[in-house]
Amino acid sequence: MRSRSAQTMIYWLMRAFTYFVLIVIAYIIFDIIRNGMPVLSWEFLTESPRKSGAEGGILPAIVGTLLLVLGTMAAALPLGMASAIYLSEYAKRGRFTEMLRLAILTLAGVPSIVFGLFGLGLFVLFLNFGASIIAGSLTLACMVLPTIIVSSEEALQGVPQSLREGSLALGATKWETIRKNVLPYAIPGMMTGSILGIGRAAGETAPILLTVAAFYLPGLPDSIFDQVMALPYHLYVLATQHPSADLVRPMQYGTALVLMILVMTVNLAAVLIRSRMRKKYRW
């Protein structure tokens, strides 16, 4: 009997720990929404900042972040998916594959600020792109590459072997098999993982700090070699560097909310694709 009550107590303790985490998460989101909502307006979303961010809107930062996301996708998606196809469909056990796996593992563990240093050294200085959209996008692309590869490979592995064998047995070549009998089933899963990774990139600050972000640039960019503002960096600057940080608090909350909505929308899209696919295909 005593052990029974001990068990109940410990379970309740564990429950308390778990719920505490949930409550903290909910509170953070609630706090940002509550304080950010009043700031959101058409003007806030569609105008350039004035008086170094104290007034006006955040349009250039929204556009900057969207451009960076697009650039990152354009660079990282094809490369990551192709790497995953190699690993899942072509790779044999051996030194090269082992090296490749180690490289992916290493990349996954590199801190984001080190990617920033790398981007600064390679793209900004060595390739002479300067602080620009292209330098920032490529840096972010390097950062999300391992996520895309790993999740895409998982999706490819989820396609039953029999589908490949059936196609090969009918005389299709390897590429025909992959293109017609593997990819159509794997692509939604590949997209899901990749989009989740890119959503994370949209919220990253450290890598773009050194490679693209402009402190205050009310205009919109003309080319991919221009600097842009970006939402995460804008929030950071408003919150810590602004001479009257307390007075611009509403602008900070508004920026935080827009950033969170943007990242969450991307994530939600990924999750929706996944749940829809789960219903459609069952092996």
Partner: protein, 291 residues
């Protein structure tokens, strides 16, 4: 014949795409090393072993990494201590105790947390948590190592929960049944059979979480106060390696000693996270092979 050529060409395309990952890793080491190397000649590597980080000074600059490394380690250590009970309890609870409904509720929540940008968490910490820490502990300022650690713990928890939960639910059912058959209570089975069987997975999860924490930049830059001092106290302000790079890189002249020293900070950071990552994956792999 033509289609054979085509097949070969396609394979080559995929192989070269895959090789870029290796290329990027090589380039990271190359470019970090390349920018850092001249520092070894002038002013010399011994500078890095000094006790003080004072890169801008009227008399003599000093580039001792010690305060930055201890800063990072202190924050990481505190964050781990805070995150482990929550992460492990959460994982055990979700996989062994929670009802189906709870489980369906928790998973998206945890994913949600993992999706909140770090700068937003840092911002929340700056506005909401900093005053709380200041009042609760009666401090002069709330910008302390502890404040950073609390937020970083929150960021490590999703990693720890997700991976430990995987490990725990992978423990074969027969273990639990055997334990129950021997008359053990549910709780005894969880603590004496399930958790020990999943232990290496849980350890790997914690280490991966630590890797995330030690490499995190924005949160620590915003809430730890950034004083480059050597301290073991959670109530002091500290400056981590990541925050140092992020805060100072924007202002240094390219090619100066300070600039090169920051690349050294990056190299030390890279080596530390690389080791953590490598060891945790070895542990995970061994564990998976055993299953």
């Amino acid at each position: 014949m033509k289609s054979k050529m085509k097949e070969k060409a396609i394979k080559l395309v995929f192989t070269s795409a895959a090789s870029t990952a290796i290329l990027i890793v090589a380039l990271i080491f190359l470019f970090l090393g390349n920018e850092a190397a001249p520092f070894a000649k002038v002013p010399g590597l011994s500078e890095l072993f000094g006790q003080k980080w004072m890169p801008v000074s009227f008399e003599k600059e000093s580039f001792g990494l010690l305060p930055l490394i201890t800063g990072s380690l202190l924050v990481t250590f505190l964050a781990t201590i805070i995150a482990v009970p929550f992460g492990v309890c959460g994982a055990v609870y979700i996989s062994e105790v929670a009802s189906r409904f709870e489980r369906e509720l928790f998973k998206p929540f945890i994913e949600l947390l993992a999706g909140i940008p770090s700068v937003v968490i840092g911002f929340f910490g700056l506005i909401v948590l900093t005053p709380i820490v200041k009042d609760v502990f009666g401090l002069y300022s709330g910008l302390t190592a502890l404040t950073g650690a609390l937020l970083l713990a929150l960021m490590a928890i999703p990693t720890i929960i997700t991976i430990s939960e995987d490990a725990i639910s992978n423990v074969p059912k027969s273990y639990k049944e055997a334990s129950a058959a021997l008359g053990a209570s549910e709780l005894q089975t969880v603590w004496k059979v399930t958790v020990p069987a999943a232990l290496s997975g849980i350890i790997a999860a914690v280490m991966l979480g630590m890797g995330r924490v030690i490499g995190e930049t924005m949160v620590v830059m915003m809430v730890t106060g950034n004083a480059a001092i050597v301290t073991g106290s959670p109530f002091e302000s500290v400056r981590t390696m990541t925050a140092t790079i992020a805060a100072e890189m924007g202002e240094v002249p390219f090619g100066s000693d300070h600039y090169r020293a920051l690349f050294w900070v990056g190299i030390v950071l890279l080596i530390m996270t690389f080791m953590l990552n490598l060891v945790s994956h070895r542990v995970l792999k061994k564990y998976q092979d055993k299953q």
